[in-house]
Symmetry: C2
Subunit: 227 residues, 2 copies
């Protein structure tokens, strides 16, 4: 898989390096030479060029990729233009980063195959995590249905999985338990996380455990609210 990352801000640079580390072929593009230089040891190829210049993109073969990710932040017209040009040059999938809801709509209409809004997505996840303090992380599987990592409720401490009968009592599926264990000398205070991926009926929930459950959001709220 060949990728082009256009615009080496924080998002573009992180993405280009992560893709390259994952073994992908990555060409990183920016019109700022310093950023191009900084990227060149970590990607397949780093090129200084103006991504709104169709001739330059063609000349450097930037369009010969499977996926192009455009992240020219502040200059929206340039972001838009680079997106349209890359689609025109035949790039099968163009993912463009948006900086506002209005702009994400514009980008989708002018041809971006996918639009990414880092600030919005991260803010929504943080809000969810703050609103339900026991939630450590979550993944929405479907509207109203999620995988949720949450701190074991106090009422569960010291009880066995069998006793708790979570599936029947709460209509939730407990799929794993994350436990924090001390490692090395006690004085060092170091810990490691161990995942119990097959919780058994006689396993006991400990106060610092993190439960990973699947269920509809109402049932999960119910479980957390009962405290």
């Amino acid at each position: 898989m060949k990728y082009a990352v256009i615009g080496l801000g924080k998002f573009g640079t992180t993405l280009a390096k992560a893709l390259a580390r994952g073994g992908a072929e990555v060409v990183a593009v920016d019109n700022n030479l310093d950023l191009v230089d900084e990227a060149k040891d970590e990607v397949t190829l780093a090129v200084k060029l103006d991504a709104t210049d169709e001739k330059e993109l063609l000349a450097q073969g930037i369009h010969k990729v499977d996926v192009a990710i455009v992240s020219i932040g502040e200059n929206f017209e340039a972001n838009q233009l680079a997106t349209v040009i890359l689609k025109k040059l035949g790039v099968k999938k163009v993912i463009t980063r948006a900086t506002s809801t209005v702009r994400s709509k514009i980008l989708a209409l002018i041809g971006a195959d996918e639009v990414i809004s880092p600030e919005e997505e991260t803010a929504m996840r943080l809000a969810q995590r703050l609103l339900v303090p026991n939630i450590v992380d979550y993944l929405e599987l479907s509207e109203g249905y999620s995988v949720v990592e949450l701190k074991a409720p106090e009422k569960f401490h010291g009880k066995t999985i069998k006793e708790l009968d979570i599936r029947n009592k709460y209509d939730i599926n407990l799929i794993a338990i994350k436990r924090i264990l001390p490692v090395g000398k006690p004085s060092e205070g170091k810990t490691k996380i161990v995942l119990n991926a097959v919780p058994r009926p006689n396993d006991v929930i400990e106060p610092s455990d993190i439960l990973i459950v699947v269920g509809d959001d109402k049932s999960i709220e119910e479980l957390l609210r009962e405290e």
Copy 2:
């Protein structure tokens, strides 16, 4: 729970509104009057003030919150200063948004309880999703162990859950299936997503199904690579 959101850029505004929608008490702060005006109908209180001015923060009672989220983007000194002042004024949890790895380290050292990097986090998730093309989304539960949403591999199409024997063959736990169903008139081409949260032995996998599995990353890669 009372929240203060300092800095109403895209991140701050999205967060303030999401928290307010979730029923929390939210005071939104910015020194740009237009942004304060735009926010005031969607939060408990919107205040124009300079978040680096300790007296102003005190006067408006901004420090009387449980959690403050500081997201003053471009002006790093202001971002830092607001963070330090809020901790000094006794805010129990201050979450600060960072715009670079170096800055996130500085913020952690000067007292931020948590540091958020939207561009980095989103770029890492996108890289993961691109590197494993069948992955629709994922949640890392623990190092090397994740919940993954992936397109049903071709070899699974038309087979029953029982036949596939996923747990034993791949050491992966299939926890749900997302199916795309047509809705309304066929000519409209509209679809809806239906979640099968309790996959049964005789359920048949269809080509457009999305499987939600839990397992260690190696086993999931194995499953995807076999294609």
